[in-house]
C-alpha cells in the first residue's frame, strides 16, 4: 500500500478543509513556529487510532477539535481522512480487494470518535489492525514526533528499552 493524501477538517488549528498530497519521495513541510506543522503530524497519528490524548498534547480527546479564535467560533466536530492506494492488493482482509482505501476518523463533542473505512463504519480495533499490518500505527517508529530524539537521548536505559519494545 501507499499513502497518497491526508485531509483535515476542524482538527486543531486546521479549521478549514485542508488537503495534503503525499507524493513519492521526500515531502518537506516548512513554516514559522506555532503555525501548525506538528498538528499535521498529530492528525495522521490520530486517524491511525491514537488512543492517548497525552500523546497529542491534550488532556482529553476533544482537545483536537478546533477551539475557536476571537474571529471564529469553536467547532463541535473534527475529522481527518487518510487515503491509501492499494493497487498491489497488499492490504489485509477484508480490505484487500479495494484499490483505494479511505480511513476516516471523526469526533463530535460529547459523542466520542467514529471510524469509517471506505464509508463503512468500523470499530477502532479494525483500524488498528489495518495499520498494524502495514507496519504503521500510532506507536510505530515510523512517526517520529518533535522531541522524540531528545527523549531517546535523555531517558534512563529502562525507558529506552521500552521504546525498543514498543517498536518491535
Amino acid at each position: 500500500v501507499t499513502f497518497t493524501k491526508l485531509k483535515l477538517y476542524g482538527f486543531k488549528s486546521f479549521v478549514d478543509k485542508t488537503e495534503l498530497e503525499i507524493g513519492a519521495g521526500l515531502n518537506g513541510i516548512v513554516g514559522p513556529n506555532g503555525c501548525g506543522k506538528s498538528n499535521l503530524v498529530e492528525a495522521l497519528r490520530w486517524v491511525m487510532g491514537e488512543k492517548s490524548a497525552k500523546n497529542m498534547r491534550g488532556s482529553g480527546m476533544e482537545d483536537v477539535i478546533f477551539a475557536g479564535t476571537s474571529k471564529r467560533p469553536a467547532r463541535n466536530m473534527a475529522e481527518v481522512t487518510v487515503i491509501m492506494d492499494n493497487n498491489d492488493q497488499s492490504a489485509p482482509a477484508p480490505f484487500n480487494t479495494a484499490t483505494e482505501i479511505e480511513i476516516n476518523r471523526r469526533i463530535e463533542k460529547d459523542k466520542g470518535s467514529q471510524y469509517r473505512v471506505n464509508g463503512k463504519a468500523v470499530r477502532a480495533r479494525d483500524v488498528n489492525l489495518l495499520f498494524a499490518d502495514t507496519m504503521t500505527g500510532a506507536n510505530s517508529p515510523a512517526l517520529v514526533s518533535q522531541g522524540r530524539i531528545t527523549e531517546i537521548i535523555m531517558t534512563k536505559p529502562a525507558d529506552r528499552r521500552k521504546i525498543l519494545e514498543d517498536s518491535a
Partner: protein, 164 residues
C-alpha cells in the same frame, strides 16, 4: 515476549551498527541490553565512537553527535519494521550542514530501496533544498492554519531566506 524482544534487539542492533557508520562516515556504535539490580542502570544502553574519537556512552558525546546517533537508532527501528510512510518532525535541529546532508542522503537511499514516502518537518535550509516538494504552513489569520504548495523555484529562494 522476552524472546521476541531479543530477536527485535538483534535486528535493530544490526541495522544500527551499519547506519551509524553510514551517518558518521566511519566510527562504530552498538546497543547493549544491561541487566542490573540498579534500576537506573538496567535497560538499553548506547555506546558510540565517532571516527577518530574514543568509545563512550551516548551521554558523553556532543549534542549533535548524540542527535545523529539517535537518528541512526530511529532509522534502525524503522528498517526493522518498514512502513510505506515515515514522518519526521524536526529531527535535524541540532545538526550542522554536513550531518544534515548525510541524513538526507540516507532518506534518499531508503526511498530508492523501499518506495517509502517521507514527510519531513524542518526549519533547516539544507533539508528544504533536498526535498522533492515543499509545503508551507502559514497562519495568515491568527490561530488558523493554512497549507500551501511551494514550487521549486520558490523552494530555492525559501531555502536561501529561511536561515535555518
Amino acid at each position: 515476549a522476552k524472546e521476541r524482544l531479543a530477536i527485535a534487539f538483534t535486528r535493530v542492533d544490526g541495522h544500527f551498527q551499519k547506519l551509524f557508520a553510514t551517518l558518521f562516515e566511519g566510527g562504530r556504535a552498538y546497543l547493549e541490553m544491561l541487566e542490573s539490580d540498579d534500576p537506573l542502570e538496567a535497560g538499553l544502553e548506547i555506546y558510540a565512537q565517532p571516527p577518530g574519537k574514543s568509545l563512550q556512552k551516548l551521554s558523553l558525546l556532543s549534542g549533535g553527535e548524540q542527535t545523529l546517533t539517535a537518528t541512526a537508532l530511529i532509522f534502525a527501528m524503522f528498517m526493522t519494521n518498514p512502513s510505506p510512510i515515515c514522518v519526521l518532525d524536526e529531527i535535524d535541529a541540532p545538526l550542522d550542514d554536513a550531518n544534515v546532508d548525510r541524513v538526507c542522503s540516507l532518506m534518499e537511499k531508503i526511498v530508492s530501496e523501499t518506495e517509502t514516502r517521507f514527510i519531513v518537518i524542518t526549519h533547516h535550509r539544507m533539508t528544504m533544498a533536498r526535498m522533492d516538494r515543499l509545503y508551507g504552513v502559514t497562519m495568515g489569520e491568527r490561530g488558523v492554519s493554512q497549507l500551501v504548495s511551494v514550487d521549486m523555484a520558490l523552494q530555492e529562494e525559501m531555502a536561501l531566506n529561511e536561515s535555518a
